[in-house]
């Protein structure tokens, strides 16, 4: 039962053949068995989950209906949860308990979803492998020697191994889509501003966006319709009506124009990944879509520009961790300066400190024009490439990541790790919606296909992803993890 999609579970719950309490218990049992090996959760909320499940069953008895009522959910540990630890994968926030819920958390509570716990992540979402987590890396359920991807690796691993039915993630440069690809699940980053960032711990504010990680595009449509919408508490959230994403999933793709960026099929792309994506394109052609090559000429500059913009914004956002109002404070500081410096140095891990320093450097006197301004100009060129491409095509398709999941500990060099995000980062710089869906396997590890849409065309992206999942079974494949005992 725990392997089912939320859509399927919702039917069982509505029919009365299953209660949310039973379902929640089943997931808690699975977590108890599997989490020690997977390290997908940082915090498990057994007691409150069962209370919420009971409440969900009561609400149903009183006539309340929603597809997510009583469905067990895991939140990435970047979303503030009232009364439950929110660590952001960092020692800095190891004991932090937010006094309020993030808007996203509130919205899921309103419809009656059940919070099972908080999932593991790279520290402050800075990483592509989950290895920068202060709490140790989450593991990939397809092979526990491999990384689950990052930064939302715990959520993706939990979905793949059925430690929850649905999950949330955040994506600044690929942090929903790349772990979804590595773990063989569906991960969707909506357009910038579509989902409120209020209560979501900030990394790079002009790039961060929350979205769902789940078992199908059909589920992603339900989750996105809950998460999306204007929020007066987030001045960057967008005042556009939320479409009925589930209603358009079955639209025909006949005549759909798919753009294939030449730049996403070049050196560095594994031949197995390339083969799977080309197979997937044939599936679309059989559905009546037309495939044309497009040119994203500045894509190779997306990683360099990102590693100025994201660290610059991070260095400003993370200046709030000073050991005064909340978070870690060092022992016996001799003076104020010593307290700031040691609290930050002991509270942050190596990757976070590196990025703060790169950002500080890029913003420091004499370097602003060469780095920050230059990067924002490149960002414009990248966005212009997409605008031009979208004059010709409806969606853009390519691989999510050039390779499948790599070994834990294999990438010691930060720059080598950064280059793994070569297909996802440009989408954040341009603020576009992008989804990763399972599209094949290489040596037992999942391959993700990346579908990019125009601004606020979430419905189209989900429609294109869902139609693929109607024709293929990749998203239904399950790792053998934990089934042997």
């Amino acid at each position: 039962m725990i392997e089912k999609t939320a859509t399927e579970l919702s039917r069982l719950l509505s029919s009365g053949s299953l209660s949310s309490v039973e379902l929640t218990r089943a997931y808690l049992d699975r977590i108890a068995k599997a989490n020690d090996n997977l390290n997908a959760y940082i915090t498990i909320c057994e007691e409150s989950a069962l209370e919420q499940a009971k409440k969900a069953d009561e609400r149903r008895a009183k006539g309340f209906r929603h597809p997510l009522l009583g469905i067990p959910l895991a939140h990435k540990d970047i979303f503030c949860t009232d009364g439950i630890n929110t660590t952001c994968g960092s020692r800095m926030l190891e004991n932090f308990i937010a006094p309020y819920n993030a808007t996203v958390v509130e919205k899921f509570e309103d419809v009656g979803a059940v919070t099972l716990g908080k999932t593991n992540m790279d520290e402050f979402a800075m990483g592509s492998s989950n290895e920068t987590s202060y709490f140790g890396p989450a593991k990939n359920p397809w092979n526990i020697k491999k990384v689950p991807g990052g930064s939302s690796g715990g959520s993706a691993a939990a979905i793949a191994a059925d430690l929850c039915a649905i999950a949330t993630g955040t994506d600044t440069g690929g942090s929903i889509r790349q772990p979804a690809a590595f773990c063989g699940v569906t991960g969707f980053k909506p357009s910038y501003g579509r989902v409120s960032r209020w209560g979501m711990i900030a990394f790079a504010s002009s790039l961060d966006q929350a979205g769902p990680i789940c078992k199908s595009a059909e589920d992603a449509a339900i989750l996105t319709s809950v998460m999306a919408g204007l929020d007066n508490k987030d001045s960057t959230s967008v005042d556009k009506p939320v479409e009925a994403y589930s209603a358009t999933l079955n639209k025909s793709l006949k005549g759909l124009k798919i753009g294939i960026p030449a730049q996403h099929f070049r050196d560095g792309l594994s031949s197995e990944v390339e083969r799977s994506i080309k197979e997937a394109l044939k599936v679309y052609e059989q559905m009546g879509a037309r495939v044309t090559e497009i040119n994203l000429a500045h894509n190779h500059l997306s990683v360099p520009a990102y590693y100025v913009i994201a660290p610059a914004e991070a260095s400003a956002n993370l200046s709030r961790y000073d050991g005064v109002r909340y978070g870690y404070r060092c022992e016996n500081p001799v003076d104020l300066e010593d307290m700031y410096k040691r609290s930050r140095s002991e509270g942050f891990g190596a990757e976070v400190k590196r990025r703060i320093m790169v950002g500080t450097y890029a913003l420091s006197a004499g370097y602003y024009d060469d780095y920050y301004q230059k990067a924002q100009k490149i960002r414009r060129l990248i966005k212009n490439d997409f605008d031009r491409a979208f004059e010709e095509v409806d969606v853009i398709i390519g691989p999510t990541s050039p390779n499948t999941a790599f070994d834990i500990g294999a990438k010691k060099d930060p720059v080598a790790m950064y280059l793994e995000d070569i297909y996802t980062i440009a989408v954040n710089l341009a603020g576009l919606p992008g989804i990763s869906v399972p599209a094949g396997f290489s040596e037992g590890l999942p391959i993700g296909m990346h579908i990019i849409g125009k601004h606020f065309e979430e419905a189209k992206v989900l429609n294109v992803a869902h139609q693929f999942q109607q024709e293929t079974e990749w998203h239904k494949q399950k790792p053998k993890f934990g089934l042997e005992d």
Binding site: F96, I97, P99, Y192, G193, S206, N232, S235, H298, H300, L301, V303, P304, A305, Y307, S315, S319, D322, V324, R325, Y326, G327, R329, P333, V334, D335, D338, M339, Y340, K341, R342, R344, S345, F348, K353, R354, I356, M357, V358, T360, Y361, A362, D370, Y371, K374, A375, Q376, K377, I378, R379, R380, L381, K383, D413, P414, V415, Y418, A430, G431, H455
Partner: protein
Amino acid sequence: MILDKSEVRKIAQLARLHISDADVDEIGHRIKEILTLVDQMQSVETKPVEPLYHPFDAVQKLRPDVVTERNNREELQKLAPKAEMGLYLVPKVLD
């Protein structure tokens, strides 16, 4: 790209990070690698290009200047490492 020990220390000071003598070379080396990656940006001429600070060139929304939040100082100060009588405590600043 030159990044000597004193520059690494200067950046750390600006960022209020403490770096031990043992780590300064390693950190400098890593940052230099990142800046080398970043320097690929210089390969394109961008003089006439307007910087894009926001994906949709949006500007900051304004709202009426009225109080919308309740005062929850006590609740928030419970999170502080050290607070007393409504004040955050830090090491002595003045002698």
